[in-house]
């Protein structure tokens, strides 16, 4: 099973109803190819970092799909849709798996390193200041 993140920007000229219709349409297309929608985020209007088709704002929307096949049909649809300023499909499951592995490895290394440093410094630090004020 692969995980895909689909981020796309709708033109600011598109009204709310039209945008909702487009979004449900995209969902249907993805559903038809066997992709399961696991997460959805509407970011709403955002300033673009640079102008796209002379627009300075865009309507961002994010899908996260679980799928066994690629999302080529959705990709094709989005490319052909006029009101989609930009879309990006990123496969993330491999990166997440790698990240998990790395997260498991790291704590072991760090536990070995600080342990001798603490035992060495702890007795030395409290003893010295305690003796001086007593004298």
């Amino acid at each position: 099973m692969r995980t895909y993140e689909v981020l796309f920007i709708l033109s600011p000229q598109v009204g709310e109803e039209e945008a909702a219709a487009l979004i449900t349409d995209f969902k249907r297309v993805a559903d038809g190819t066997g992709a399961k929608l696991t997460h959805e985020e509407a970011w709403g209007r955002r300033r673009l970092a640079y102008s796209i088709q002379k627009f300075n704002e865009g309507n961002y929307h994010l899908f996260v799909f679980d799928s066994d096949s690629s999302l080529s049909e959705l990709d094709r649809r989005m490319r052909n849709a006029e009101n989609v300023l930009r879309h990006m499909i990123v496969r993330t499951d491999l990166d997440h798996k790698r990240a998990e592995k790395l997260a498991k490895r790291n704590p072991k290394k760090e536990r070995i390193r600080p342990a001798p440093a603490f035992t060495g410094s702890e007795p030395a630090v409290p003893e010295a200041p305690v003796e001086r004020p007593a004298e």
């Binding site: 981020l7 970092a49 796209i52 865009g58 990166d95 998990e100 997260a103």
Partner: protein, 98 residues
């Protein structure tokens, strides 16, 4: 002729090293210990959608901050780089600003 040059070379070696140490003190005086932010905070997956986090590695001009300045480790710099590039395509970050 060969002997003095040979003496000169090892003599210059320690002398040079001591000079480097003294010069090194001055040079390194300003430098802070740089650590990889991602290793410290244990962020293993760098998300291209997290603009606030990525912006820390984007100086004014819009370029990617080099590793020698940010102190990011090689592994995380590579991931950071691809995340920034993705964010640029999504118009979340600029390609260049002037």
């Amino acid at each position: 002729m060969a002997a003095p040059t040979r003496r000169g070379a090892p003599g210059g070696g320690p002398g040079g090293a001591a000079g480097a140490q003294q010069a090194g003190k001055k040079k390194f005086f300003y430098r802070r210990k740089r650590v990889c932010k991602f290793c410290v905070e244990k962020i293993e997956y760098i998300d291209f959608k997290d603009v606030k986090m990525l912006q820390q590695f984007i100086p004014e001009r819009g370029k990617i901050l080099p590793r020698r300045i940010s102190g990011t480790c090689a592994l995380h710099q590579r991931k950071l780089q691809s995340a920034i590039k993705r964010a640029r395509i999504a118009a979340l970050l600029p390609f260049a600003t002037d």
